[in-house]
C-alpha cells in the first residue's frame, strides 16, 4: 500500500518540475540530480539492511542491483540481459515499472524521461561504492515500448576516497 505513496508523490514531483522548467531536457536533468542525491544516501540504508558483502565484479553488482536492491525498494526483480562482450555493460529489463502506475505521458512531453530519477539513484549509489557508471533508459513503456530497459555501463573504479561534490 505505501508503495503507492511513493508512486503518487513521484508523480506530483514530476508534474511540479514540468511546471517549473520550460523544457523536458531540464526536467530530465533535475530528476537525475535529485536521484543522485537520493542514491548517495540510499546506499547506506541498503548496505545496512541487506548485509551484502563487497561485489567482486560488475556481474555480481548487476545481480545485487536487480535481485536485492530493486526487490527491496520497488518490489520488482528486473531481469539482466544484453551483456557486452567485455562484461562492462548490461541491461535491466523491467516488465512493469511501479513508478509509472497511473501515468500517461501527454503529447507535448515526448522527450521527458519520466523515471529518470532511477538513473540518478543508481549512479549516486554506485559512486559511493567506488564505481563510476553511466545509466540511461533505452526503452520506456510510457513511450510505447514493450518493456522498460535501463542500460548500465561501467566507466571506471573510483580510486580516490574523497567524496565527489554532492550537488
Amino acid at each position: 500500500m505505501s508503495s503507492e505513496l511513493f508512486t503518487l508523490t513521484y508523480g506530483a514531483l514530476v508534474t511540479q518540475l514540468c511546471k517549473d522548467y520550460e523544457n523536458d531536457e531540464d526536467v530530465n536533468k533535475q530528476l537525475d540530480k535529485m536521484g543522485y542525491n537520493i542514491g548517495v544516501r540510499l546506499i547506506e540504508d541498503f548496505l545496512a539492511r541487506s548485509n551484502v558483502g563487497r561485489c567482486h565484479d560488475f556481474r555480481e553488482t548487476a545481480d545485487v542491483i536487480a535481485k536485492v536492491a530493486f526487490k527491496m525498494y520497488l518490489g520488482i526483480t528486473p531481469s539482466i540481459t544484453n551483456w557486452s562482450p567485455a562484461g562492462d555493460e548490461f541491461s535491466l529489463i523491467l516488465e512493469n515499472n511501479p513508478l509509472v502506475d497511473f501515468v500517461e505521458l501527454p503529447d507535448n512531453h515526448s522527450s521527458l524521461i519520466y523515471s529518470n530519477l532511477l538513473c540518478g539513484v543508481l549512479r549516486g549509489a554506485l559512486e559511493m561504492v567506488q564505481m563510476a557508471v553511466d545509466v540511461k533508459f533505452v526503452q520506456d513503456t510510457l513511450k510505447g515500448d514493450g518493456v522498460t530497459e535501463i542500460r548500465m555501463r561501467f566507466i571506471k573504479r573510483i580510486e580516490d576516497n574523497l567524496p565527489a561534490g554532492e550537488e
Binding site: 500500500m1 505505501s2 508503495s3 503507492e4 505513496l5 511513493f6 503518487l8 508523490t9 513521484y10 508523480g11 506530483a12 514531483l13 508534474t15 511540479q16 517549473d20 533535475q30 535529485m34 542525491n37 537520493i38 544516501r41 540510499l42 540504508d45 539492511r49 527491496m72 525498494y73 520497488l74 518490489g75 497511473f102 530519477l117
Partner: protein
Amino acid sequence: MADEALFLLLHNEMVTGVYKSADQGEVENGRCITKLENMGFRVGQGLIERFTKDTARFKDELDIMKFICKDFWTTIFKKQIDNLRTNHQGIYVLQDNKFRLLTQMSAGKQYLDHAPKYLAFTCGLIRGGLSNLGIKSIVTAEVSAMPACKFQVMIQKI
C-alpha cells in the same frame, strides 16, 4: 517495507529542491510551502481514492476524521495519530508524538525553524484526502519540540 526509506529520501530531496530554486525572503518561503502543500494535496486525493474504494460510507465528519487518524495515517506513516481533539464545531487537532518525517531530524528544539518545510507536504496530504471525501478544509501544522507535531484542520462550511 523498505520503501519507507525511499519515500523519506524523496520527500527530503523535494523539500531541498523546492527551496534551492527559490530566492531568499518571506514571500519566497511562502511560495515554497505552497508548492509542497499542493503536491501533498494531489497525492492525498489519489491515496484516499485507493484506500476507500471498498470501505463503507462514513457516518459523519467525526467518522471521517477518525479514519484519517487511524487507517489513513497508519497506511502512510505506519502508526496512528496519538491524540485527536475537537471543539465539535469544525476544528480538529491531530497530534503525532513521533512524526515519521521529523524523527530523523532532531529530538527537541534543534532545527525547529526548518520543521515547517517538512510538514507542508503532509498538510497537503490531509487536505487532499479530506477534499476527495467531500470536505473542504484548511490544514496547518505546528511543532514545539520535535518529533512531536500537531496538525490543525479547520473545516470550511461550503
